[in-house]
Each structure stands twice: as C-alpha cells, then as structure tokens.
C-alpha cells in the first residue's frame, strides 16, 4: 500500500488500556484557558517518567462550555485507577486553581466511575468554601485572592487507550520534521485524542528494557536509530536518515483510528520513505492498530 507514493508498512501499533479523564478548563478568554491547560498538561508525556500522560484535546467554543466562556478540553491518562485522582488533585491544585479567571469542569459527565477531585481541593478554602448544586451536579466555590475558583466536585473516569503510534521514516531530519508537523496539524482538535509529546512529536522512541543497564525500563530504540544502523539489527530501509514518532492517546479505539488515518495521510509528504509503527510483537498491549487496515478505510 502506498499513499502519495509513500509505502505503508504491513504492521501495527500496539497500545494499552489506560484510565482517562477529561477536564474542561474555561477562562475569561481563550488565552487564560490555554495558559492553565498548558501548565496542567506539562511534564506529562509518558507514564514511564511522568506517571501520567496528558494533552490538550481541543479548543471549545463558548457554546460548548458549562459557563459559556471559551474553554480547552484536556485528556488525562494513567495506567491504573488509583494514580489518576492523585495526579489530578496535585496538578489541578497547582496549575488551574492558581491560574487567573479559570474554572474547571468535568468532561465525562455520564461516566459512573467518579473521582472526587473537586471535593479534595475544596479544603484549600480553609472552611470558607461553599458548594452549590446546579442541575444535579455539585460545584465547589473556593475563595481566592482574585475572587473565586469554581470546580466540579467529581470527574468521570473511564477506560481509555494509550500508546497508539506511527513512525515517519524520512530521507533527512528536515523532511521528517515537516511530515510530523503536517501530521500533528491534521490531528489537532480531533475529538477524543491527544498527542502527549512536545509539539505532538517524539524523537526518542524507546524499546522495553536495556541491553546494558538493569534498572532502565526503557532505552533508545536502536533498531530505528539511523546513527546505529551499522552496529545494530537495524530495521531502517536504505535512504532513511531520520525517524520521528507520533504517539496518540485517546478515549477509545475509534478515536485513535480516526486520528491515525488523517495523521498518516498528512505525513506522506516529500522526503518520507515509509510509514511504520511500533509494537512489542502483539504480546503486551490488547489494542492493535493495523496501519493498512486503518488506511484502507479511506480508499488509499
């Protein structure tokens, strides 16, 4: 299979079941909503080192938010149930509570599994906090120097998918970056998906474990490192001198498939030699995203 002359390898991305929450952050304007969202999702690229993965899902219009202000929706993922509320309480408390004009709402209202994030943060009010029940949802009003911070008492948690990916194999670093940027641009603002890495792109894809260091749980993916082509079992075709990876997390499999579809198509530009994906032989993750199957659904 080829798209714009770029071969799509017959392989699959292997992804994991994670726990996901969606937060809606609103602000007096889009700038302040984004300021909070950027801080909230900072240092949340991979569970390997950050204990969570997070990113901006999309911008929300005034008509889409509970308080009628501009907003940002954020997805937050962890590997287990227990660590999601821990991460949210710490991060929302330090980044959204502190950010001028913002309020924080639940973006998964119909999900039965609830995390008491707002209830935990209410104690910042030192007894001066007040709650309001509006349309069956409880909100907490925390007095702050600016005025008040509003946060919903609970946030929904559901199963999500983490680790969807594809690799862009290019003739040089410039072509790889241009293709990755095009892919990210195409996937930006798609519902149910985030790209947790810087600018949506990973340059340091990893393999499980280490050949040399026992304590390392992930080390460089030498099979796809062009500089190691001559001294490892390289999987890089001839003519490939740079590789970038796009990692996708999402609320469900269809959301990730839809994003991969538009992302891969956009990545197939000048200088790209092929598109492939990272997996562990299909033994670790329950979700397998077969590139050709996904791309065939758009008649590529």
């Amino acid at each position: 299979m080829k798209i714009n002359g770029v071969p799509i390898e017959d392989t699959f991305a292997e992804a994991f079941t994670m726990r996901v929450a969606r937060l809606i952050i609103t602000g007096r304007n889009a700038k302040w909503a984004r300021e909070a969202a950027v801080k909230l999702t900072g240092f949340a690229t991979s569970v390997i080192g950050c204990k969570c993965e997070a990113g901006i899902e999309r911008e929300l219009k005034e008509s889409e938010t509970p308080d009628g202000r501009p907003g940002i929706s954020v997805l937050f993922l962890t590997m287990d149930k227990a660590s999601l509320p821990e991460q949210l309480i710490v991060r929302v408390g330090q980044t959204v509570l502190t950010c001028p004009t913002t309020a924080c709402f639940d973006g998964l209202p119909d999900v039965p599994d609830r995390l008491t994030v707002g209830k935990a943060l209410r104690v910042f009010g030192d007894g001066f906090q007040a709650s309001k029940l509006i349309a069956g949802k409880r909100y907490w009003r925390l007095p702050v120097m600016e005025g008040e911070f509003l946060i919903e008492e609970t946030f929904g948690m559901q199963k999500g998918v983490g680790g969807g990916n594809f690799l862009i194999l290019a003739a040089d670093a410039d072509a790889a970056l241009a293709a990755a940027e095009a892919a990210v641009q195409a996937m930006t603002n798609l519902p149910g998906v985030i790209l947790p890495f810087p600018g949506g792109v990973v340059r340091s894809g990893s393999k499980v474990g280490s050949q040399r260091y026992k304590n390392m749980i992930a080390t460089t993916n030498d099979a796809f490192n062009p500089t190691l082509r001559a001294i490892t079992q390289s999987q890089l075709p001839e003519g490939v001198n740079s590789v970038l990876e796009i990692v996708l997390d999402g609320t469900d499999v269809p959301a990730i498939e839809a994003a991969m579809r538009v992302g891969i198509r956009a990545a197939c530009g000048p200088g790209v030699r092929s598109i492939t994906a990272g997996n562990y032989g299909g033994k670790l993750g329950p979700h397998h995203f077969h590139l050709r199957k996904i791309m065939s659904e758009v008649g590529a």
């Binding site: 202000r69 509006i134 349309a135 009003r141 005025g147 008040e148 509003l150």
Partner: protein, 254 residues
Amino acid sequence: MSAAVTLSLAQQPEHTLVADCIAADRFASLGAKQIAELPVVHGGRRATLGDFFKVRGERSTTLRIEGDLARVEGIGTAMAGGEIVIAGGAGRDVGVQMIGGRIDVGGDAGDNAGGARPGASRGMAGGEIVIRGSAGAEAGARMRRGLVVVTGDARRGAGSGMIAGTVVVFGKAAAGAGRFLKRGSLVALGAIERPATFRYACTYRPPHLPVLLRYLRARYGLAVAEPQITGRYARYSGDLAELGRGEILQWVAP
C-alpha cells in the same frame, strides 16, 4: 402507566383546600381511582382530591395541574422526585419541605413556597421550584438545600432563615430578604431591601452564577439576560446576626 397525570380543577373550592397529598413521586404507583381518593382538607373538613379535581392518567412521575389554584395549598409537600407543572398560579406552601424533583409554577405563588411546616426548623431540603410570577412572603424560608426561583417580585422574608441552598429573585425582593440566613445564597437580579446585618464584601463575577443562570435559561426557558450572566455582583456576607456564612449577591452591572 401514562406519560403524565393531569389534575383539572373541576370544582372551585369555597374555602382553603389543603392538598398536601399532591406530589409527583407519590403518583408514580397510584391509579387514577386511587389518586382521586387521596385525602384533602377543605375548610377544615375532610374530603378527597376527586371531589375537586378531574384526574386523567395514572402511574406517572410527571404531573400537570390546571385551573385556578389560588386557594389550593401545599402542592408538592415533601415531594421527593418527579415533576409538577402548574399551568397557572398556586396557593401557599408550594413545595413545603420537598426534598427532590421539580415544581414549575406558571403564575404567582402564595406564601412559604419551599418553606417549612409550622414549627419545623428546616424547610425545603432539595429539588427545584420555579415561580413564573411573584412569590408571597418567605419564599425559601429555612431552606436546607435546593433552589427557588422567582421571576417576579418576592414579598417580605424571601430566603429568611436559610440554612443552605439558593434563592434567585428576578424582580424586587422586599424587606427581610435573607434575614437570619446562616449559609446559602440569595441572588437578587432586581432591587432588594437588604437587612442591616449584611456587610459588603466586594463586587465581582461569581463563577457559579453563569452556570446557574444558563441552566435556568436552558431548562426552564427563563428570560435571563446576557448581562446578568456575564455581569458583576455585589457580595454581602450575612446574616452576621447568625453564622454569617451566607450571602446576598446583587447584580450591579454588566
């Protein structure tokens, strides 16, 4: 089971008709005949609901009431769920001590809407009452939890003695509004005769009000103006003769 139970006033009561048997959740398991046999008190004498109302439908948590109900008292007393839609106005004690559900009054309501029974320390403890007109005295008095909305004026003592919850008055709130309030919010979109025992705190944009006012507009179709949603409110803490943890939020400007 019907989509709704409808009570149409067939016999205008000559005296006060205490109909505290009317509650949407109670009708969920009753047939039309059983509903008609529910007890009421007319001028101090026992009677049945069927003596005054024609009953259509059965076994539904949605209840519609039609007719001039100015003399009918206690509609929705202690109601725990469901919805009552009253086509016109209603007498006193609408939703007294209700704990859940919704009551939508299409006109004026009498005294003590959402309030407490005589001698009780607590009034309404949950649910929502929307009065599309003016309210009598002490709307939401001693409320523990819940929401009372008055689109017109509220006579004396709206929200007086509130323990928590929210009262919203679109029109004028007369003297005694919020008096002896412990916690809770009295939102005044019009003029309010504020007790002297409330102290000014600041003028700001309470972040929960856009959520609340947009909900009222969407759920009940109330005419909430955009400046009321986005505007600033003066916050008065009180009642300082009580806990002082409550507030009057008075709309001041866009």
